[in-house]
């Protein structure tokens, strides 16, 4: 299984890489939405999971999610926003744009794994 982590912070990419890596994913990284689309465009197999920050230079996470929803090749990729944006209206916007789940920073490793379990990407109770 593959995942792509899209965040402009190297520290956050390292944390996310570690957590989803522990769940058995091979992890790709991109620093913004545009770079992620370019990277995904050149891959033979599309990752099952994308963890997407919101505020990034070039193309932000909301635009990335919308673009990924439009792209037939990326249709099966599960999109999880991982961001400090936590106003109710912002979450609703992200869900409307096509995000499947939403994790608010700060989050614990357990929380991220719980969300992946909710999405059926790791077995339930992987955490306990």
């Amino acid at each position: 299984m593959h995942a792509i982590v899209i965040d402009d912070s190297r520290a956050m990419r390292l944390i996310l890489r570690r957590i989803v890596g522990q769940c058995g994913f091979e992890v790709l990284e991109a620093g913004d939405g545009r770079a992620a689309l370019d990277l995904l465009g050149g891959l033979d197999t599309v990752p099952q999971l994308a963890l997407v920050d919101w505020n990034m230079p070039n193309m932000d996470g909301l635009e990335f999610v919308a673009a990924a929803r439009e792209d037939a090749r990326l249709r099966d990729m599960t999109l999880v926003m991982v961001t400090t944006e936590s106003e109710q209206s912002q979450i609703v916007r992200a869900l409307a744009a096509g995000a499947h789940e939403y994790v608010i920073k700060p989050f614990t490793a357990e929380a991220m794994i719980d969300k992946l379990a909710l999405l059926g990407l790791v077995p339930t109770g992987a955490n306990t």
Partner: protein, 281 residues
């Protein structure tokens, strides 16, 4: 800076007396780390100073803070998920058949910690019960601090991340300060009370479902047995008891029978157990 054996024994004794929770030797670092903020808050220079004063001058409020600081309140939304699916798929449809006259369901969350369990139960029942049905969730815990927090219904970002599907967050909560607050439509169906499971239980109306999850693990077998006996008296004879994934009544209290519900199991009171019978009935 490390805790002396006698200070550790004092704390372990206190915690054991007040909550029946066993702190094994080797947990000195945990005691020290957890009590440091409590000691600082009380104006003591160190944990040793704080415990010294407490041993010379016992103070029930301070005893509570020590016990609170050392009990594990680890919890999450829809913990383990299957018990909640079992309510939706099996228990609620059954109750809708058997409680049609009253159209109401009573559930006890018997070690509710910071409230994720009772509010997860509220969300589950809200979604699963037919229109016109009512439900009440009674949530209790030994920790006054936890009861205060749970009853406020406010959760941090870190807490709402754990196991709560985002659609339910958006539907049942609103932003409040740095975190989130549970919607009044859920809150009004949940009552809270401080209650020690290992002390004689207060009079409570009986329940259709009891969640007694991830608390028996802290007790020795005698305490487990007496807690289960007392709980059984508050469960309707055709009710359900749900335990934590690592807990069972088997080999502890034969008054319950394990039954499969959905993809997990629950416990139901046995019809009658002949006096003196232990082991397989």
């Amino acid at each position: 800076m490390s805790l002396s054996a006698s200070d550790f024994a004092f704390v372990a004794g206190l915690v054991r007396r007040e909550s029946a929770i066993v702190l094994a030797p080797g947990k000195e670092y945990l005691v020290e780390a957890r009590l440091l903020p409590v000691a600082r808050q009380a104006g003591a220079g160190s944990v040793a100073d704080y415990l010294g004063t407490l041993q010379r001058r016992p103070d029930p409020a301070a005893h509570r803070s020590v016990v609170d600081a050392l009990t594990t309140n680890e919890t999450s939304w829809f913990r383990d998920r299957e018990p909640f699916s079992a309510l939706t798929d099996v228990v609620v449809p059954h109750l809708v058949g058997t409680r049609a006259a009253a159209r109401s369901v009573r559930v006890w969350s018997a070690a509710c910690s910071s409230g994720q369990e009772p509010y997860s139960l509220a969300i589950t029942l809200q979604q699963a019960l037919p229109a016109g049905w009512r439900y009440q969730i009674h949530a209790t815990d030994i920790s006054t601090e936890m009861i205060k927090r749970a009853s406020a219904g406010e959760f941090s970002q870190v807490e709402v991340n754990r196991g709560l599907p985002v659609q339910l967050l958006v539907n049942h909560f609103t932003r409040s300060g740095t975190g989130w607050k549970v919607a009044p439509a859920l809150r009004e169906n949940v009552t809270f009370q401080q209650l020690n499971l290992t002390a004689p239980l207060p009079a409570l109306a009986s329940f259709d479902v009891i969640f007694l999850r991830n608390v028996l693990i802290y007790f020795d077998v005698e305490t487990k047995r007496s807690v289960l006996r007392n709980i059984c008296k508050l469960l309707r004879p055709d009710g359900w008891l749900f335990l934590g994934a690592a807990e069972t009544t088997i080999g502890v209290d034969e008054g319950f029978e394990r039954v499969a519900v959905g993809r997990t199991s629950a416990y139901r009171p046995r019809a009658t157990v002949p006096a003196g019978t232990l082991g397989k009935g």
